[in-house]
């Protein structure tokens, strides 16, 4: 599993996310309110919608289309209309860079 240099820690405000595209796949990278970084698949499991336009509230990401919610730490679907969990990816911070381990 390769680690990919995704962004700088300063690229994402606390309690926010960005979209990251790599090798034909799209990811969402989160900066939680407690200063940690997480990564998930970039699109909602309900429909083909980028989560990057959504809203991070604590450890939840709310999808911009129908307000479905996931816990972005575990990918767990938390609020209808999402029923299918989101795929998550490991992250690590080295210096000022955020890496994600892509499949």
């Amino acid at each position: 599993m390769p680690w990919i240099d995704a962004c700088a820690t300063s690229d994402i405000d606390a309690e926010d996310l960005i979209r990251f595209d790599h090798a034909g796949a799209t990811y969402a990278i989160y900066h939680s309110p407690d200063g940690k970084f997480y990564a998930t698949a970039g699109k909602c499991t309900h429909e083909d919608v980028h989560l990057a336009d959504g809203l991070v509230m604590d450890h939840l990401i709310e999808c911009p289309k129908h307000n479905g919610q996931f816990d972005y730490r575990t990918g767990e679907a938390k609020r209808a209309p999402v029923c299918i969990n989101l795929k998550t990816f490991k992250t690590k911070v080295e210096g000022t860079r955020v890496y994600i381990e892509v499949a």
Binding site: D16, H46, E47, D48, D53, G54, L55, M57, E62, P64, K65, H66, N67, Q69, R79, A80, P81, C83
Partner: protein
Amino acid sequence: MTKRDYSLLGPDGQRAVDIGLAAAEWYHTDVPRKVMKELMQRSDQPAIRDTVILYGCMVAFAAMGIALWPSLWSIPFWLAYGVLYGSASDSRWHEAGHGTAFKTPWMNNAVYEIASFMIMRNSATWRWSHARHHTDTYIVGRDPEIAIMRPPAFARLLLAFVGVPDVIAFFPRLVYNAFIGVHPTEKTYVPHSEWSKVVRVARITLAIYAATLALAVWMQSILPLMVIGLPRMYGAWHHIMTGLLQHGGLADNVIDHRLNSRTVYMNPISRFIYWNMNYHVEHHMFPMVPYHALPALHEAIKHDLPRPNASIGEAFAEMWPALRRQFAYEDYFLHRDLPETAKPYRMDFHEGALGQTAAE
């Protein structure tokens, strides 16, 4: 002229899927992420205030109506109670269903369930139909919430002001859901995991109506029904009035909410009843923004939208003739000009997708 088939299982819906009109990428006005994040922020406070006012007024008006019953003096109180029961419940259902009204989830859920009951919608079914309405707004054969189909059925529209078509549709479906299960059309948009909830909600709802009816029979009076059930009819007019304006007379089968939705400036009482859904283009473009932030969102993006209607009256004056023209010619729709500051509509794309010519 294109004959429209609004059935969710019909050929128009299939065609929308085939040509990529269903679940398409819609137009969005550019809003800086920082501004949008601010606008999306959730808060309990405005909705708690509005909910206390709403339920407080309902209790007070119903109490006065009951106290003065059966005198004619009770009528104004029933009218006021009715509009809160039969119309404000529509906007509460809507906003709490989106989960944006309150910050706290249980508050959204509680208001959603109460509002669903009052507006006569199965809370488990309609959550999903509304998701589809947002994915495929006014896409024929895909959107289950198209209020004005073409050609418009005027008698039905007028009867809707006193809730008749909705109530007539509601009770047979309620009984179906309670005793038989989820209806085949509902199965096209309600996920399997939710089917048992649809049935449970239907049974609880049916039990409440049965108890109310039994009380009315026992009291030999319609008074219990004046409190539960009938206000969905005698108070429906406001939500129909505002609801018809949302998309009436505008384009269908397009993927730009500026073409198929209408923003109307309204008086403060209507905005309270309607919970700011008069900013309807804004709401569809950015459903994450809570009702209390819609006026601010409107300010942020109005340079990119058609001019809002100045009042409910002006909006009806625009919409009604358009509906009459659609009666004669189904493909007609109002094409509203954009300000010079706006990004143009992509009519090339829409005309190609529709296989039809935009009107005026």
